[in-house]
């Protein structure tokens, strides 16, 4: 597959880039924290967690680099190939999960999955949580646009 291009406003690119600098390291740690390793073999557990940490760090680095090198107005994010596209899709999920776990853990699961319920809740949230939710939504929209480009009909 040739390169994948996504466009977003310059403001969105800056805000998401800044957020990623703050949340990136936490996201890699958080991926390890979520690990559910089978059995009680410490060597397997260590290798399992190390694998997840390395994968998450690598994917977040690809996302950070893609946002940092996006040029133009609106900014064009260029991903060189499909593998980079999927890595960015995973990184976007990783950051969304981290925002959910660290900034707005008190929002009930039901509300997070229901737009109307969330809309009623947002005005009562502290500013920090409102801003984090806006970034969470923005990362989600970026991921949906990316998935539409990547397709996914093909197996493998």
């Amino acid at each position: 597959m040739p390169e994948v291009r996504l466009t977003l406003t310059v403001e969105a690119r800056e805000i998401l880039g800044n957020l990623l600098r703050l949340a990136g390291p936490a996201a890699a740690r958080s991926a390890v924290g979520r690990a559910r390793v089978p059995g009680d073999d410490p060597e397997l557990a260590d290798a399992w967690r190390r694998g997840l940490a390395e994968a998450a760090s690598g994917e977040l680095a690809i996302l950070a680099s893609a946002l940092a090198s996006a040029k133009g107005d609106p900014a064009v994010v260029i991903l060189p190939d499909e593998a980079a596209g999927w890595a960015v899709a995973r990184a976007l999920t990783s950051v969304r999960l981290t925002l959910r776990e660290t900034v707005f853990p008190a929002i009930p699961d039901d509300a997070l999955e229901n737009e109307a319920q969330l809309a009623r809740l947002v005005p009562r949230l502290p500013a920090e949580q409102r801003h984090a939710l806006a970034c969470y939504d923005c990362f989600g929209l970026l991921q949906l646009a990316l998935l539409a480009r990547l397709g996914g009909d093909e197996i493998g």
Binding site: S94, Q143, L150, I155
Partner: protein, 95 residues
């Protein structure tokens, strides 16, 4: 004339132990979108999109889905790969 030797009777018993079957289970989460979860199943489980969509709906509606069952080694590989895609995957054994 040769004598016939009578050998003591031998008894053999054969027992077989079935290898436990391991299931890869994915739990629902409120963060990952339906589109993303479906794409994960296509890529990781190597299933066609309609089957991936069916599994995703099962996760969403039932709260969990057994997405693969079989030998432990393969189950471990799939569970770790699904976790790498940030899904709530874990293993269960029928042993």
């Amino acid at each position: 004339m040769p004598r016939t030797k009578v050998l003591p009777a031998l008894e053999t018993r054969e027992t077989t132990a079935r290898e436990p079957r391991w299931s890869v289970v994915v739990d629902n989460d409120p963060v990952n979108t339906m589109e993303y979860v479906t794409a994960c199943f296509v890529k990781v489980l190597q299933v066609a999109r309609p089957e991936a969509h069916r599994l995703m709906l099962e996760v969403h509606e039932e709260g969990r889905s057994v997405v693969w069952s079989g030998a432990r080694e393969r189950a471990e590989g799939l569970a770790q790969e699904l976790q790498r895609w940030h899904l709530r995957a874990h293993l269960e054994s029928d042993a």
